[in-house]
Symmetry: D2
Subunit: 260 residues, 4 copies
């Protein structure tokens, strides 16, 4: 996701909760240097009893935030029934880790012609990610961006185990941009900055970070969300690493080779 050739940080809340929550977050992360907004409106939670998202009302808030900030927005699709309507509002469709093996959803998302952000399943090998990415491209996706977000291992000290070597492998295997999700990888707010620095240094093309106006009151994923202040600090923390990244042009992707 070169977005003009630069390292790209995508930021926003796990779930769009209210207009006020989402717009203040959008403005805050834009001010700190985010290049794209994220916010879930259909939430495929581990447990179906958790908050399920605002749906179409949430999509309208995404569009409003784009207008206000000028930043493109990405949001998750969890059903082939919804991809068309989501594509009307979003600039990029996210296929989440729990949907990576849902071929019908991949087809449907790709056929909208929008770029697709494909998150690695926590149980998927890099070869399986490569295959899913190839399918998205073949089905007409307007660009594909991959995302490492942690795999399931015996370790319990972090929510998942961030497999950073997979970033390099997937870049080489697919020629596509690969970003890192330090929030889901770790499940812990204070590991977001260290993992983000490591992701920039290994040559990832971007980050996707959870930010919330009041993380301790977030309806979901609060423990791993950054406050506005913490996101501002994150962006300053990674800045010198991003400068090296930019100078070295780690991923000088030709236009159209990956995402738009």
């Amino acid at each position: 996701m070169t977005l003009g050739g630069a390292f790209a940080t995508i930021a926003g809340p796990c779930a769009v909760e209210t207009e006020r929550q989402f717009l203040t977050t959008a403005e805050a992360v834009a001010a700190s240097g985010a290049r794209m907004l994220r916010g879930g409106v259909f939430k495929p939670r581990t447990s179906p009893y958790d908050f399920q998202g605002l749906g179409v009302k949430g999509l309208e808030l995404l569009a409003k935030a784009r207008t206000v900030t000028g930043l493109p927005v990405v949001t998750e699709v969890i059903s082939e029934v919804d991809t068309e309507i989501v594509a009307e509002y979003a600039d990029m469709l996210q296929v989440g880790s729990r949907s990576m093996f849902n071929w019908r959803l991949l087809e449907s998302a790709a056929r909208t012609g929008k770029p697709v952000l494909l998150k690695r399943s926590m149980g998927a090998t890099v070869e399986e990610v490569r295959d899913a990415a190839a399918y998205l491209r073949e089905q007409g996706a307007g660009g594909v961006v991959l995302c490492e977000r942690g795999i399931r291992t015996f370790g319990t000290a972090t929510r998942n185990t961030c497999d950073l070597a997979a970033v390099s492998l997937l870049q080489r295997m697919t020629g596509l941009p690969v970003i890192v999700d330090p929030s889901h990888s770790s499940g812990a707010r204070d590991l977001v900055a260290p993992l983000s620095r490591a992701a920039v240094a290994i040559g990832a093309d971007g980050l996707i970070v959870e930010v919330h106006p009041d993380p301790d009151r977030a309806w979901s994923d609060g423990a791993q969300s950054l406050s506005f202040q913490e996101f501002e600090e994150l962006m300053r923390d990674i800045e010198p690493f991003v400068n090296i990244w930019t100078a070295r042009r780690y991923r000088p992707l030709a236009k159209g080779k990956g995402a738009a």
Copy 2:
């Protein structure tokens, strides 16, 4: 899946390939004592380039096999768009391991009112299986049967690692029948019988086994499929264990507590 209170073996090919292939398999497994037929008509393969299944034409073959053998049939649904049509033909809907976290599909399958066979994701904890099962029941499924089919571990000697302790845990946690898939667990024909015996002995409610007229020529999963002769031998191999199971009434489920 008590099916009259007895231990139940479900058998059939990974994919319905042709009328001849499926009907001869159905008759062979029925003759050997299978209590339900299986056969995939929508195949959510790891790679989208593999054979994708016969679709509705396959459903008609399932129905035909049911008429010929008198056995109920189970087949996988991979899209919420297809659940209605599948429910018209099948006696039980399978949600495969790669779809376990697809809540929209769970909802859609449950709402047909048919019993649902839910296979554990190779990356799911037992608590996540329990939650998905609870959701199916709440959404109206006409019974739920769980299936242990192996999890992803560092081991490479088998396709997956069959977690038989999970059978006991899930039975206790959910009160639902739990069956075992020795074919996908191991990915190896010669491990199907040993794992099947172990599954009966641990108290599983049934098995789901891949059988093919000519495993070496199967369009998918040939390495783990049994020939008719091997399936006949499997049924003889497990017979004394099933006799103990029956005498001990390992799972004397009350009517309606689990599947129909």
Copy 3:
């Protein structure tokens, strides 16, 4: 471990704590049909702050229990410095899962000429177990018995994940007896019987089970230890499965092919 061609259950406490504790346990498990006694006297605990074992005093208690019950004893060696003295007392030396990759210990244990019980490391592949077993034989071990005791996976519902397919694989790969440790595999008392039945059914050559006079007061591993009454029930529970095992002669090992 054919011990006369029969299925063999090894039983005893995790650690030898006191004379009274060990001898009452030895007599109880012998009365219930155990064919070998176990009891740790050098304990390589996960944390060095836990109880470290009775050492040589414990070895004397092992010998006393053998005299009283007539059963052979197996105990763990954790240091090459101790193998000689342990071999003077024990009939079989156990190399524990945390020592499987300790080649010097393997050498030292093998060179005593005693049979060695090698437990799979919770992080080892079956190929690595095979290699360690081959080394033991080459270095002069008077027989080798392998033991599946669970591997580390993402699952947290059980202490480890018992990989029963590995029993069949290791038997075939090595020609050696392979037993199962349902206590460490599960870490849970109420899973010991189901896993034991499954182990017999898959064709394991024996079991190694933790038994304690008062599990809730055990100095280690209490949560997975059986009381005398529970061990008696276990032996009755597995009896019909052992009868099938015996009738089928699952592992008619020639004398000297595996352990004595």
Copy 4:
């Protein structure tokens, strides 16, 4: 391992093979900026049939290389019987990943009073690493340095999965220096530089890297060893990241808090 407060790269071959091989490597890595030499003389190989190391003759070569380069040397101990002699030659004793749970070896290494480099077992949780480190300190080790070297997961694209978040966690949990082994983590030469950059960026205290005069002819681990030229390039590659590390003083360890 502050070694004067600076980021420290330890380099050398997997195994000391010959005087010429080791001394040329030592001089090359010293010239490129390595701060410590490594080289195995007792090799606890996965398979006992592989090369077992030069033993005491190798220790003499380590000492010679120290004289020639002025750099301290670290080498692995695999037996409590050898720790004294190794401590006479080496500046730091390495306890390898396969020995992490060998308490007797930990005791013996610690009691020499030398600093100990403790590598995480590929099957160990971070809490277990913390406990082993505490034991080393309690037993008198003259400093402890921890090393993340990859854990076993279902992934097969790399030899192990480098768990970089564990670096931050272990630093916080123990207050000790934590270094990263990009060579064993990945098992692949071309992933060493990306993982090294990520390790510096996350705040690791150093690296331990395999270097060989002719990697394709190495007696062990050739696929992951760097040539002299590649190591020189690695050091240039990480330089700007090390400069940030130094400016930010990621780990301004007080004297004596961690290793000497």
